[in-house]
């Protein structure tokens, strides 16, 4: 059974780690989570981002949600917004593609061009 005592232990451990972090400006990962996104599978995509970002120990990335981005047929849609405000829009995401975006884009700074809305437009 999970207990509140366990939560207290987590708190103590987390406090030690938090003090080691620097306050670099954050990259924002925004997952479209309106009816269209949810029905298309946005929740597992968001979950994959949260898990992979933790696995890679990235402390300069926050994951959040937004409503309908406006291109429902391309959901699940994820926007990656850099501290300088530049934005990359990934479309038709899956948990597997999310893992790739974390590794290539968030860790190594290389945009996964083939997954972006621009690449999709050219194909279709």
């Amino acid at each position: 059974m999970k207990s509140l005592a366990e939560l207290e232990e987590i708190r103590k451990r987390a406090l030690e780690q938090i003090s080691l972090r620097d306050d670099k400006e954050k990259i924002r990962v925004v997952v479209g989570m309106a009816t269209c996104g949810i029905a298309a599978g946005a929740r597992p995509v968001m979950n994959a981002f949260v898990e992979e970002i933790n696995k890679r120990k990235l402390t300069n990335v926050s994951v959040t949600m937004t409503g309908c981005i406006g291109v429902c047929r391309l959901e699940p849609i994820v926007e990656v917004i850099s501290p300088d405000g530049s934005k990359v829009t990934y479309v038709k995401m899956t948990p597997e593609k999310a893992v790739r975006v974390v590794t290539e884009h968030l860790v190594n700074g290389r945009v996964c061009a083939d997954l972006t809305i621009g690449a999709y437009g050219q194909e279709g």
């Binding site: 987590i10 708190r11 987390a14 989570m33 309106a34 009816t35 929740r43 898990e51 959040t64 949600m65």
Partner: protein
């Protein structure tokens, strides 16, 4: 929507957009009455009665990206398909209550789905909003109050990965304890 937890996610997102910072979620199953109730009570901006009456129409929405809003109509359709209904009670400035009912044994009732993942995703994306989650089976109940969790955590954010994992496990245990054997998709 594939399951009820996805509908719940959609409705919670509505509450957040309405500016709610306290959302009460009740999921109550009564084997005796063959009835499952999902109720979402928020303290968001609420709706005028004219709007509240019409939001189950897919062509009524407040968003400006398009003229269709499917969240509530789809939830209502899922309830109706399973011998239930959906009711909305809303007051401007006070908040909105949405309640959907389902016949538990109805062949077309959607499975509950991953309630824990819905709740922890909402907490991760909207840590500023508090959620009070109540699960009930008439005999026993389970409560998770994120305000209490935040008080225990102090300066540690509720979005810490380890905290989210704990919340997910804790909720999963609650779902299993309360609905195991009551909802046939959840093993007792």
């Amino acid at each position: 929507m594939k399951d009820l937890s996805l509908h719940l996610m959609d409705l919670l997102q509505n509450s957040i957009v309405a500016g709610a910072d306290l959302i009460e979620i009740t999921i109550a199953a009564s084997a005796r009455q063959d009835l499952l109730v999902i109720r979402i009570v928020d303290n968001g901006c609420g709706m005028e009665p004219e709007l509240a009456e019409r939001v189950d129409n897919p062509f009524v929405t407040t968003r400006d990206t398009r003229k269709v809003g499917l969240g509530i109509p789809l939830f209502k359709a899922s309830a109706n398909l399973a011998g239930g209904d959906l009711k909305i009670d809303s007051k401007p400035g006070r908040g909105t209550t949405v309640e959907a009912t389902f016949r538990i044994s109805h062949i077309d009732r959607l499975p509950l789905g991953d309630i824990a993942e819905t709740i922890t995703s909402m907490i991760a994306a909207h840590p500023e909003a508090d959620m009070l989650i109540k699960l009930d089976n008439e005999k026993e109940s389970f409560v998770l109050d994120t305000a209490g969790i935040k008080a225990t955590l102090g300066e540690v954010p509720v979005t810490e990965y380890e905290v989210l994992c704990w919340l997910k496990d804790y909720l999963n245990e609650g779902v299993k304890k309360i609905f195991g054997g009551v909802l046939n998709e959840i093993a007792g």
